[in-house]
């Protein structure tokens, strides 16, 4: 076995990367993209939020607190923020509840079956959100199949379209693939041996789930919830199409201000507000993660 001499450590080893240098080198691309694609634009936005808007959509480059003062003193906007946050939270939680079983099932499936199901999960994302929303409209309209089925059961027919219910149902479905992918990415820590240990200790499948599987998959859950919350708050296509103009959310409002009314300073102010709300959410998320560790 000693036919080939083993290599002894070469004293003149190539220069060692120190951790700090390595970090800088590896983070350079993402940092550049972040700086140009995010920080700079956001600074620009922040600047706009202190500019004056002119009638018809013009922007006057003078400093003013008007936008912020107007925003923070108008109960309409405060309610808007509050509504957006809690609706998004509710949608996120619902998405989690309906996605988790699928993700777990996928995690345990194997071979081609798993691939096939994974593709099925992804396929909704290939159908643009606009088209899927139209699909939901076709399903949920007053004379559509769902309302028809409910009526056939003799129950009072609910109105599922052009209100918050429709937005809820549609958006939940639209966010599911993202949630499922995030959950699956976080399932790595789930060692089957540990589940087995719980079962031999007398835990029923449901208690094994609550006590072992759930805690071990918390990182994935936290990630999925973060992504979905963010996407829910950002979404405006679905609320616009399914909300019937009754559902006012931050993103739809920003859309209206930026695209319809062309009030960029106000849109910027709202955006910075969203950023602050999200910053808080992110902070909460990291706090939760740190607790889990």
């Amino acid at each position: 076995m000693s036919a080939v001499p083993t290599t002894t450590p070469v004293p003149a080893a190539p220069r060692q990367w120190r951790d700090g240098e390595l970090a800088v080198l590896l983070l350079l691309p993402i940092a550049l993209i972040n700086a140009i694609g995010f920080i700079l634009p956001v600074l620009n936005l922040a600047r706009y939020s202190f500019n004056k808007s002119r009638v018809g959509g013009g922007i006057e480059a003078v400093f003013t607190w008007e936008n912020w003062a107007g925003l923070l003193s108008d109960p309409f906007y405060l309610e808007l923020v509050f509504n957006s946050v809690w609706i998004s939270l509710a949608i996120t939680l619902t998405t989690l509840v309906v996605s988790y079983p699928i993700a777990l099932y996928l995690h345990r499936a194997s071979g081609a079956w798993r691939t096939f199901l994974t593709v099925l999960v992804i396929s909704p994302l290939l159908t643009s959100a606009v088209v899927r929303t139209y699909g939901w409209i076709a399903i949920l309209v007053d004379d559509g199949p769902v309302v028809g089925a409910i009526k056939a059961l003799g129950l009072p027919a609910p109105s599922l379209m052009f209100n918050i219910k429709g937005v809820f149902i549609g958006l939940t479905e639209i966010l599911m693939p993202y949630m499922i992918l995030a959950l699956m990415a976080g399932f790595g820590r789930l060692d089957p041996r540990v589940e087995e240990a719980a079962r031999t200790l007398g835990a029923t499948p449901s208690r094994t789930f609550m006590k072992v599987i759930l805690p071990l998959t918390l990182p994935g859950i936290a990630l999925g919830c973060l992504l979905c919350f963010v996407l829910a708050v950002s979404s405006f296509i679905t609320p616009k199409l399914m909300g019937g103009g009754r559902v006012f959310l931050l993103a739809t409002e920003i859309y209206d201000q930026a695209i319809v009314t062309l009030n960029w300073p106000l849109a910027s102010t709202l955006s910075i507000l969203v950023l602050i709300v999200f910053g808080a959410a992110l902070w909460a998320y990291s706090a939760v993660l740190r607790r889990l560790d």
């Binding site: 002119r54 959509g57 922007i59 616009k240 009314t261 062309l262």
Partner: protein
């Protein structure tokens, strides 16, 4: 030479290319006009604004109030005799003070209904308030300018005298309509849901309504109510420093010419802005535009309306839409 023209995408694009762009290119073989469709004026302004330093677009067709903002930001080159010789022939409504663009089409708000669901042909805006169409009414709400136009019409009907000062009467009347409304944001537009019967009645722009009415096998009915209506004005402007300015000027001149105006009206029922065009248009087509009913039109000063738009929006949000929840 390639001229880039930006205007509304979709059905407008289809028809405009057929009626105006293609004939122009046939007449000027050395010029290619590329039609770059965008969904709305605001987005056009956004794009123009972003390209201000190096424009890729030569001509824009957009709503007059947005064109005002663009003018203020110096995006449009002045529109004078050097651009087009048809200026003098345009209706006065087509020329707005302080806007470097002139009207290329007129459109007006109309009442739409589904012929299966609405048996008697309505003649008045008041049909919208008819309780038998509860939850079947489709209204594009403000900040969409259809909503704004509708507010001004309602205000006048409810006894309002000066919409610039107050639309109180109109808002009160709209509050009564609110509980009957199915959606304030019909998608993709108001015409298709009414054609397909998702909604029974609603309001929309005449030109598109006429086109969809033809496509709907008679399912979509269009009426210019007896109380009259208001104009929406699309203007055409020349982008300052565009890459093909000379050819662009040629195109604008052509677009405002009576022939082109007439062709487009025949094609898509926008009322012409060139007073000389009416003569070239068939009676049948003309009757489906507001050109024959110029006297019934409320004179809306869009530049003034822009100033009160925020106030109207606020009223809708606080006093109208919540009543429909």
């Amino acid at each position: 030479d390639t001229v880039v023209l930006t205007a509304y995408s979709g059905i407008f694009q289809e028809n405009y290319v057929k009626a105006v762009v293609e004939p122009f290119m046939k007449a000027n073989p050395d010029i290619t006009v590329e039609f770059y469709g965008m969904p709305n004026s605001a987005q056009m302004l956004g794009t123009l604004r972003a390209q201000a330093s190096a424009p890729q677009i030569d001509i824009a067709i957009m709503d007059v109030s947005v064109a005002k903002a663009a003018t203020d930001e110096g995006i449009f080159a002045p529109m004078d005799e050097s651009v087009t010789k048809h200026l003098a022939d345009l209706y006065p409504q087509a020329k707005a003070e302080g806007v470097n663009a002139v009207g290329v089409t007129f459109d007006n708000l109309v009442l739409l209904y589904n012929t299966d669901k609405v048996k008697t042909v309505p003649t008045s805006w008041n049909a919208l308030w008819d309780a038998q169409y509860a939850k079947q009414v489709s209204i594009p709400a403000v900040p969409d300018i259809q909503g704004t136009t509708f507010t001004i019409i309602t205000d006048k009907m409810a006894g309002g005298t000066n919409y610039i000062e107050s639309v109180e009467a109109g808002i009160n009347r709209l509050a009564e309509l609110a509980p009957l409304v199915q959606t304030w944001e019909p998608r993709p537009d108001v015409y298709q849901p009414i054609s397909s019967g998702t909604a029974a009645i609603g309001i929309g722009w005449n030109a598109r309504a006429q086109v969809y009415a033809d496509l709907s096998d008679g399912k979509l009915g269009v009426v210019l109510p007896e109380e009259g209506s208001g104009f929406q004005i699309n203007v055409i402007g020349l982008v300052k420093g565009g890459p093909a300015s000379d050819s662009a000027k040629k195109f604008i001149d052509y677009a405002l010419s009576p022939e082109a105006q007439a062709a487009f009206t025949e094609q898509m029922f926008y009322a012409p802005t060139n007073s000389k065009a009416a003569a070239l248009i068939s009676e049948k087509a003309l009757s489906r535009t507001a050109a024959g009913a110029m006297d019934k039109m409320i004179d809306i000063n869009w530049l003034e309306v822009a100033k009160i738009r925020d106030a109207i929006t606020e009223q809708w949000r606080r006093r109208v839409i919540p009543l429909s929840r």
